[in-house]
């Protein structure tokens, strides 16, 4: 191969261009500085959002708590929420939230975890290709459609199974069951990530000892992925606590302190939403009370999310 060199003329041209040598000193690149500032500003916006949420919730919740007749103790222990009688006990709303979430989790965790184990340990990549979309579709359905489904299908179904005198027209079970299906994809995907992070070597060791696939999955892989699976469950709890539309449509339209899932009751989120649809003035105890509820909800879900991420960090560290 002949290397094509430069002609003499081209070389002098090159030399000439070179002597107008670029100075090493910094050139003013003001455009860059501005762009960098704008990018940083966008990043800071998220901090403002968090600050905004906290300020807004605390501000109006404070107005609620400072109202005469409202005490923290009563707020957390009174079993009646009736603003018209100046009774502001969060228990009826909180128990409704707990019960619907519990029902939801009792469906979402077993099914979601099973799905995750199957996808991670049994399914071939091709099978995974057309099984995962099922979960992704479940996740893509808007919650209001789930709520619609709870009212038009699940409630009549429950009423026909258990009898219309046992199951109210609005009830927590219906909402809880449908919510469970909604949460399955969340549990499945986080758990699957956790299972996939378990090193192959562990599986191979177990299989090499003659364990069946089931024994390997359940006794070796799943325990190894415990913190990730715990993280998925905690996230699911947080999601269930914060869900609004399904409970708003199917669970009930009034606070009701009961442990019977077949009765109607209103959750914290449902109550906030319902009160907002009315023509409330933007002042007054009605308005402030929902911010107190919102603050509780925000703090609880924040705590759960932080715990969940701590669990995730733990399983990342181990491997």
């Amino acid at each position: 191969m002949v290397s094509v060199g430069l002609s003499e003329e081209q070389r002098t041209e090159l030399g000439a261009r070179r002597t107008q040598r670029l100075s090493l000193r910094r050139r003013p690149r003001s455009g860059e500085a501005i762009i960098r500032a704008m990018l940083l500003g966008s990043g800071l916006l998220s901090i403002f959002t968090t600050v905004g949420i906290v300020v807004v919730l605390v501000n109006d919740a404070l107005a609620f708590f400072l109202h005469p007749g409202v005490t923290l103790i009563k707020f957390f222990t009174d079993t009646v929420w009736a603003p018209e009688f100046e009774r502001y006990g969060i228990l009826p709303l909180a128990t409704a939230t707990f019960i619907t979430s519990l029902i939801a989790l009792s469906i979402a965790v077993p099914i979601g975890l099973s799905a995750a184990i199957f996808l991670s340990e049994y399914a071939s990549p091709r099978a995974r290709g057309y099984l995962k979309p099922i979960l992704e579709m479940l996740a893509a359905i808007p919650t209001v459609v789930y709520g619609y489904f709870a009212v038009t299908f699940m409630t009549p179904l429950l009423r026909s199974i258990f009898g219309a005198d046992v199951v109210d027209f609005y009830n927590m079970a219906s909402a809880g069951i449908v919510m469970g299906f909604m949460i399955i994809p969340l549990v499945a995907s986080v758990s699957e990530d956790a299972l996939a992070a378990v090193p192959r070597a562990l599986r191979e060791a177990a299989l090499g000892l003659g364990a069946t696939q089931l024994e390997t999955s359940l006794r070796v892989v799943v325990p190894a992925a415990t913190s990730g699976i715990a993280a998925s469950i905690i996230l699911a709890i947080s999601r269930a606590f914060g869900e609004t539309m399904i409970v708003l449509l199917a669970a009930g339209a009034g606070p009701n302190f009961t442990l019977n899932p077949f009765k109607a009751a209103e959750t914290i989120t449902g109550h906030i939403a319902r009160i907002s649809t009315g023509d409330i003035s933007q002042e007054g105890m009605d308005f402030y009370s929902i911010f107190a509820l919102g603050l509780v909800l925000f703090l609880v879900t924040l705590l759960l999310n932080l715990i969940s991420r701590w669990f995730v960090k733990r399983f990342r560290e181990v491997y």
């Binding site: 966008s42 990043g43 359905i141 209001v144 038009t152 939403a273 649809t277 911010f291 925000f298």
Partner: protein
Amino acid sequence: MLSSTKPETAEPGYLQGDSNVRRRQTVARVGRGVLFLSLVLGLVALITLFVDVFDKLGGYAVYSFRVDPLTITPSRPLEELSREELLALIEQHVPEEAKALIPEDYGAPLEELSDEDLVNILYNEVPSPETLTAKPLEALTKEELIDVLQRNLTDVRFQTLNAEQPFEQMSREALIELIETEVLQESVARQWTLFESIFNRDAIIAEIKREYPGSDYEFKWWLTWRFLTSEQTTRPETTGIRPALLGSLFVVTLSILIAVPLGVSAGIYLEEFAGKSRLGAIIQTNIYNLAGVPSIIYGMLGLAVFARALRDFTTGAAFGVPDPPPNGRTIITAAMTMALLILPLIIVNTQEAIRAVPQSLRDAALAVGATKWETVWHHVLPVAAPGILTGTILATARALGETAPLIVVGAAAFVTLDPSGIFSSYTVVPIQIYTWTALPEQIFTRVASAAVIVLLVTVLLINLSAIILRNRLRKQI
């Protein structure tokens, strides 16, 4: 995958498994089935949901009129009827007991009473005598039909309809249909589901003829072009989803326009410029936390900040826009709230897309003397763009389906006018679904199901396109 089937025919030896191994293998097979069952359950749930929605989408419906047609059509005054006609009417419509008492009440048997007396009898004994001689709609002339419309509609409504399509130019059949819709308020008396209508067709039709003699019935679809293009009304048969569609379009588009530049910028900052700085770590944790906040809280934030504190700006009052909706419940409020909601998604997604760009590309650009920003703009972003696009598409689908924050921030439940601009009040499709599902009249669930189909199809199509895009990208790498 370890095969759990071993030949059962050979003599049980060391490898063929004593009973312990056989038992464990059976357990393993069953266990696998149970695990697979979970996915089956998920599929079943999905299918049930779709089937149920479709089932409500159409079916046989029998109509009745809220207003009796015979009460609004011109009738001949009883006084003008001939004697034979009067006698025939009395024969037909006066109850037997009353007929028997006529000689006593009026002093003479029927045939001997004067015409005036006959008229009096009809007035006294029959509830709405005018209806007896009312002409049915089909018998009216066009002028008479228009006259009926004029007398029974408000002036405003009459003018509006006339402006849309002049009555003079409409056919008699069209005018009759218009009267049935507008004046008579034809409504569904009973609606069967789709599957019932398909499989029990004959039984249903027989029942209609038996229970609702003389009434109109048809196989009605609730998701029609008319539904998509009409405004909302209080009656399920005439209501439409157009304002909600437009509202969704406005709100989602606007929120994407706000959130994407901000979110992509923040993502670029975090991945390319922040490094391991304290500030970067704080912002990062912050975003993960925000992603987990329940959506209703965003609504409350929007309510307090955009709808209340910044009311003058979000309603346009500060810009001199007339007639601002009260309480700051405008499209721009909704869009800003929604933008905050989807911002964390876009940021995280942008970060992942940028992280996927190999360092060798950045090194190559830096090595020819490009600055950090020039490297990002000319090389990193173009390669990360498809990934960012996928994330944007997913965020759009999410924004379309979100309901709770908009409820709090003030989407209207009943909107008659299409949204006129960013400062107008609005409603969106998911809120319509909620409103209709929550109404006491059962028939509204049909309307709701039509809206659900619209929303589901849109959202699922959007998600599908994002998934396809993502798979195409993965193949390239």
